[in-house]
Symmetry: C2
Subunit: 398 residues, 2 copies
C-alpha cells in the first residue's frame, strides 16, 4: 500500500475526512512507516500485527477443502445467515453463557469488523455518543464517526488495565447510545472480572433509566477464546441484557483473511424483532455484510477448532521471561496474543525506531493511543522470536 498519499485529500467528502483523521495513525503506519517498506524483507522480525507466521491449522484447511464440494445446487447461491451456522453458534453461546440464545438471534457477518459496523449502523442516531476505551482497537473511532456517532474516549485504569467505572459513569450523557467493551482487551490482554461487568451493568442500567434511553453494550469478544492459564472469560451479556455479542473466528483460527463472525442478541434483550430487522437492513446496505457460503457451510467444523493455546502460552511465558531478564518492564497478559512492554526511555516511537535499526518491528503504543508502551504480537513463530531476542537485548542496551 506504499503508493497511497495521505496528504492530498483536499476534496474528499466531509465525513470521510473525519474518518480519515481518526484512521490517520493507523494509515500512516501501514503506508508510510519503515515497517511498510521493509516488513517483508528477509531476516526481518515482524511482531506488528496478529498475522500468521506458521501454516494454517490443518483441520481448518481440511474443513474448507471438504466444504468446497457442493452439497446441493444452491451451495454457492445467495446466503444471508445460514440456519445451520446459527444453530451451531446458539448452542456454543448457550453453553458458554448459560443463557438460552436462539438461532434466529444470531446474525452472521463477514467478521467482527463488519459486525461492529452493522451494529453501529443499526443503533446510532446522528450525533449519538459512543463510549470506547483508550487504548482502543485501531478502528473503533473511525467506525463511530463513519456511522454518524460521536466518539467518546474513556481511559482504562493505567495501573491495573481494568475498566475505570467512575470514568465511564462520568462520560455518560443523555446522548450516550453505546459503550464498546473488549474483553480480553487488545492490547493489554486484560480480562474483565464478573464483578466488574456486573458493576458496569448496574451503572448502565441506572443511566439508561435516568435518561429514559437504552444504552447498549457492544461486546467485542474477538479474543474470548484466546485466554491463558485456563482463565474464564465472561460476556457482558451474562450481566446486561442490552448487549450485542460480537465475535469473529479470525483470532481463534488465526485466519484474518477468511472472514466470518456474528452479532448475537441475548434472549433477555427486549425488542429483538425490531433489532434483528435493523441489523438485517444494516447488513444489506453495508455492502451485503454476510459471510461467504463456503465459510457458513464449514462453520460446524470451524467452531471446535483453535490455534494451539499451549504453544501460544509457551511463547508468552518464554518471551515475558526473556524480556524481563534483559531488563524490560512487561506484564503478563491474561488473554489475546499481545505483549505490552514499557518502552525503555519512555518514548515508544523512538524506541521502536531503535528496534527497526536491528530489523525488529513492533507496534508503537502511540498508534493505539498508549504512548510509553509497544506491542509485540505472539503470533510470530518460535524461530523469529529466538532470532529477535538478542536484538531486543541490543536495543535495550543501546
Amino acid at each position: 500500500m506504499g503508493e497511497l498519499r495521505l496528504a492530498s485529500n483536499g476534496s474528499s467528502p466531509q465525513r470521510l475526512v473525519s474518518v480519515q483523521a481518526a484512521l490517520a495513525p493507523f494509515l500512516r503506519f501501514v503506508t508510510e512507516s519503515v515497517w511498510a517498506s521493509r516488513h517483508e524483507s528477509p531476516d526481518v522480525c515482524d511482531f506488528v500485527f496478529g498475522n500468521p507466521s506458521e501454516p494454517p491449522l490443518v483441520p481448518f484447511v481440511e474443513a474448507l477443502h471438504r466444504s468446497v464440494i457442493p452439497g446441493n445446487v444452491q451451495w454457492y447461491g445467495y446466503k444471508w445467515s445460514e440456519p445451520g451456522a446459527q444453530e451451531v453458534i446458539a448452542r456454543t453461546l448457550r453453553k458458554r453463557t448459560g443463557l438460552p440464545f436462539e438461532p434466529a438471534d444470531i446474525c452472521m457477518t463477514n467478521g467482527a469488523y463488519a459486525a461492529i459496523s452493522v451494529t453501529l449502523r443499526a443503533i446510532l442516531e446522528s450525533g449519538d455518543e459512543v463510549v470506547f476505551l483508550r487504548p482502543p482497537w485501531f478502528f473503533y473511532e473511525a467506525l463511530i464517526v463513519a456511522y454518524e456517532g460521536r466518539a467518546v474516549r474513556v481511559s482504562i485504569d493505567d495501573n491495573t488495565f481494568d475498566l475505570d467505572l467512575n470514568a465511564i459513569a462520568a462520560a455518560i450523557t443523555p446522548r450516550t447510545r453505546a459503550v464498546i467493551v473488549n474483553s480480553p482487551h487488545n492490547p493489554t490482554g486484560k480480562i474483565y472480572r464478573p464483578e466488574t461487568l456486573a458493576a458496569l451493568a448496574s451503572l448502565l442500567a441506572a443511566a439508561s433509566a435516568r435518561h429514559g434511553r437504552r444504552i447498549f453494550i457492544l461486546s467485542d469478544e474477538a479474543y474470548s477464546r484466546i485466554v491463558f492459564d485456563g482463565a474464564a472469560c465472561h460476556s457482558p451479556a451474562e450481566f446486561y441484557p442490552d448487549t450485542f455479542v460480537i465475535y469473529t473466528y479470525a483470532k481463534t483460527l488465526l485466519t484474518p483473511g477468511q472472514r466470518i463472525g456474528y452479532v448475537a442478541l441475548p434472549p433477555q434483550m427486549m425488542d429483538r424483532d425490531r433489532l434483528r430487522l435493523d441489523l438485517l437492513t444494516a447488513q444489506l446496505v453495508t455492502g451485503f455484510a454476510f459471510p461467504n457460503a463456503l465459510l457458513q457451510h464449514a462453520l460446524a467444523e470451524l467452531e471446535d477448532l483453535s490455534l494451539d493455546l499451549e504453544h501460544l502460552q509457551r511463547k508468552r511465558d518464554g518471551l515475558v521471561g526473556a524480556l524481563r531478564s534483559i531488563g524490560y518492564d512487561v506484564h503478563v497478559p491474561e488473554g489475546t496474543f499481545y505483549l505490552l512492554p514499557r518502552a525503555p526511555g519512555g518514548d515508544d516511537v523512538r524506541f521502536c525506531e531503535r528496534l527497526e535499526g536491528v530489523d525488529v518491528f513492533c507496534l508503537p503504543g502511540t498508534v493505539v493511543e498508549l504512548p510509553g508502551y509497544f506491542r509485540i504480537s505472539l503470533t510470530a513463530n518460535d524461530e523469529m522470536i529466538a532470532r529477535a531476542l538478542p536484538r531486543f537485548a541490543a536495543a535495550f542496551q543501546a
Copy 2:
C-alpha cells in the same frame, strides 16, 4: 426470514428508517410474500432471483479446491487488494476497453454490492444527489440514502428501454454527484450503445463544467459478460474518464454466495491517488469490504470462467418462443439473465398471484418500480422451465 416483522420499527435510527422505506418493497417480498413461505416447496417453479438451479461450474469448484491449499504461511492472513488479482483484472480491462488500466487502480471488494457501497461512501457529501434509472436494481436507492445522498429517479425510455438522455439532463442539478448506469440493464436486458454512452459522456462533461463540480458515473457492470448473440458491451469508461467501473463475478459464475468483485479507476481519471485513498478508507469502515483470501488466490482461474452462455441463450430463445406462442408479449433481451413479459391484464401483482396459484413464482415488476411487467430469471433449469410452460399457459388463459 419469515419471522421478521416490518411494521415494528418504531425507535430505529432516523436514517435507517429511510433506508428501510427504500427497501420496503424488497423486504416485504422476501419476508411476507407467498414466495417467501412457499418457494422451497417441492414442485414449485421459482423464477424470482438469479440464483443457481444447477450444480456450480466444475472448474469453479476445482479452482477453489486448489486454492484452499495454502501456498505460504500468510495464505489466510490479512488481505486488502491482492497484487496478483489486481494484475489479472487490469489485464482484462485493458483488453476489453483498450484503456491502459493500472493494477494499483483496481480496488478488490467483496462483490459489486460492496463496491457500490464503498464508492458512494467515497464520493458523497451529505445531501448530494445521485441519479439512477427506473426500473432500478433493488438496492440503489437504499444505498444512496444510507450513504447520505438524495436518490433521484430517472425513467428509461418506456418503448426502447434505452437511456432517456433528455430526462437525465433535466435531472442534473448543482448537487448532482453521480449517475448510476447499469449495462446490460437489470431487468430489461438492454445494452447501451457506444453512441448513447458517448452522448451521456458529453452531457455529463458539460454539466460538470457548468456546475464546477465533477459528476461521476458509477458503472454497474455486473452483467457485462452475460450477453447474447455475441453482442459487444461497452463500458462508459471508454467515453467518460470519471467512471468507476464496478464488477462482480457473481453473475458470470452464478455464485452470488461467494462474493468477489472490484471498483476500477480508469487511467484517464484525474486525482486517482486521492480517490484510491478515499476508497480504501471507505472499504475499511464499510466492515472491511475486501474479498476473502481464498477467492483472491483463485481469481486468475476464475477470470476465464463463465456459465454456459449458449445454454442460457437457448433457454432465452426457447422461453421467449414458448411464451409468445401462448400469447405473452415479451421482448428479446440482449443481456442479463432475465425475461420481462408484460403482465396479461396489466396488473403484475395480481397476475403473479395467479401464477402462484399454479406454483410458479416470478418477480412482480412493481417490486422494481416497473408495474405492468413481471421478471423471469433464466437461471432456472430446463426441467423447471418445461414444467412451468403449461402453467404459464394456464395462467394466461385463466
